[in-house]
Assembly symmetry: C2
Homo-oligomer: 478 residues x 2
Amino acid sequence: MANEKNVTAITARDADFAQWYTDIVKKAELADYSSVRGCIVFQPYGYAIWELIQKAADKRFKDTGHVNVCMPMFIPESLLQKEKDHIAGFAPEVAWVTHGGDEKLTERLCVRPTSETLFCEHYANVIQSWRDLPKLYNQWVSVVRWEKTTRPFLRNVEFLWQEGHTAHATAEEASEETLSMLDVYADIAENVLAMPVIKGQKTTREKFAGAKATYGIECLMHDGKALQAGTSHNFGDGFARAFGIQFTDRNNQLQYVHQTSWGISTRLIGGIIMSHGDDNGLVMPPDVAPVQAVIVPIAQEKAGVLDKAREIKGLLADAGIRVNLDDSDKSSGWKFAEHEMRGVPVRLELGPRDLANSQAVLARRDTGEKVTAGLDNIAQTVLELLADIKKSMYERALARMNEKTYKATNMDEFEKTINETPGFIKAMWCGDDACEEAIKERTAATSRCIPFEQEHIADTCVCCGKKADTMVYWAKAY
Amino acid sequence: MANEKNVTAITARDADFAQWYTDIVKKAELADYSSVRGCIVFQPYGYAIWELIQKAADKRFKDTGHVNVCMPMFIPESLLQKEKDHIAGFAPEVAWVTHGGDEKLTERLCVRPTSETLFCEHYANVIQSWRDLPKLYNQWVSVVRWEKTTRPFLRNVEFLWQEGHTAHATAEEASEETLSMLDVYADIAENVLAMPVIKGQKTTREKFAGAKATYGIECLMHDGKALQAGTSHNFGDGFARAFGIQFTDRNNQLQYVHQTSWGISTRLIGGIIMSHGDDNGLVMPPDVAPVQAVIVPIAQEKAGVLDKAREIKGLLADAGIRVNLDDSDKSSGWKFAEHEMRGVPVRLELGPRDLANSQAVLARRDTGEKVTAGLDNIAQTVLELLADIKKSMYERALARMNEKTYKATNMDEFEKTINETPGFIKAMWCGDDACEEAIKERTAATSRCIPFEQEHIADTCVCCGKKADTMVYWAKAY
């Protein structure tokens, strides 16, 4: 059977998670490799997912007062060097342009790994008075980081993202912005992508190069590894001092602005695969599924079947559902397997018998469950099914995250847990970098965040045994 | 008066067209310079225009069956060299990445000046059978060309664009695609941007590096210079042969695909400025105006004025109009000048007397004309006014293009016309490259296109006097 053949063509998820992931990227036609190491081709299906994520995020950014801009892709070396922590963090992983045509450049340009320095240069030009604040800017671009080890969507040399960059009159406003954008990211992850998150602050060791404080949302993948799904940084006035971004306040005093930046990227697509996918392929959260419902006519050569299928397609499309009709000459089994691989949330099967009974079979991708539904009101039925699928996907992912969240009070317990039942480990930490480093060396787990929702696990640091007040989420991470 | 001050702050269009253009870019806050020569910052207002152009174009691309993808920004030198004409055309103007972090690359990578080679590499990977065709791909990205002389929007080192790349089973299909996308571009220019176009084919000398045939749409700017606003290329099977892109046809024969590519860019924003702008600044075509109507309350401190203004804002927004209410503490004169500079198509003035009479004053940006309109049905009135503004803007631009289109039958006439009354010159051409070159050297005018709508101007070539059957549009161009 075509169905079986296609299904067995991908590695089982529990047999080899990494290979299963790669198989889905390829078989669902999300991305293709290019001849430049670590740079991928976003194929139509993969890019369509990104467009839907963009649309959901962009709406939220605009609703919260942000506007889009576009900075150049090149940063002169001297500009990148203006903020010391920033250059130290990024210099080892940037691509350098040294020649334009035949001419050697007098100064090297890096291809942006992130655009803080460009925004700062522009802000220094355009911000003069308190009337010019806040600046709530965002851009949708690609960035380049010369990573040694790459994996499609999760870690690419070039990846697509958005980077918000804001400037404010006060430290309080910048702090509020940083946290409110973290909430926007959590909303996107949970309510659009059905991926539950832990919100918290990054440790000093894990924070962004140049930031005063970094916050993140962390998701847990099916294999028990964590994925940092979005970050939001509060720069205080550090960049403003380095770049001389000053304004005259209402009292005619010269002040430095306070800045933030925040980003989500195409690694969210990797997160979708690893949060929801199964042995039959991708399982798309309905809100970002390029196709939300596919109609597969059964015995489509029989009178009336295709006509009815087209009519139903029209009804679903009118209701705002992204719907396809697969009337190709492939077998039904082949079609089922193909649309399952692509994770289409709902399959609507319609054959001559269904036609006679004025009904259709609805198969949901997330559970495989099939129900028979009357054709009256079919669009409403599919809409309700899509809403239920989203809810169920979130609940299953949340239940899994909870199941795979453990506690540890000493390093033996920590190590045993992370090796035998990978997941989040909640453990107390004294705040010392050295402990964080020691934990990483011994277990390969890193601090994911200091969650906003604290819990008292023990009185002492899981590593050094000294007094500890802070509970941290730890995990191996992508 | 604030109004006068602001207006006199830009150079008069007829006094110094180039400076007038630069003044608008700056004063309307479309773009800012960056520290990298020829790379600009798209500020919120400029980028919002681009987003609206993108939306109009993307809808048309998707309606005609195209899908979006995203290729890497880097092209290995060896890949760029595969098609000989192509590399010869682009090599002198590409930026080269030679280092990643501290490591010297074994092969240089260029930052894409255009992406034919990347699409070809991908197509060679994914096209096997006639079932895989056609491929109708597009991408929205930025590209880099190391230009010596740059000018915001018109000629940048980095600019934003879309590039469509398609692969077809037959030469006929590729030819149809090339011409149908040219029609889509003409539709966008004329019906979205209110810029009339001449459609035609490029001469061999002006065609794209690697193309079999290039077609373009040409617009005439206010100063009588031409702007190439979009191009569409038919590659035949030239790239397919260079890259080995073959498929098995329905008869099981191996065939090369036939390809096209087509692009429009942010230079359209330059086209809008130079087609429609006046001494008061930008004049935005309503369909891509980030703000279509601005409400300016007069004596806004008087009871009821602001409340009514907010109510009207709500009504216009509900009707799908992009509307702003300027309730800042600036003077009305200042506000008028500022929104005129930004080219907002309709200004709605509302004062206490208007309120008493249940009316508002509507001022149209394109003509400066003011009318009084009743508040009943105000949204409908504004919608009709916007439609009329678009129509009038197109008609005025068309009348100007027709006025500034001349004929020449010999070189003295040609030279006198282009120097004294710059515009399009229609003249016969024998088809010889040498004549084209000679015309350019003597007059600085280039062949813009061989228009689809031919006209018999004379029996002989304007340059050499030999027999000529082809009428060409010539002009000095951006």
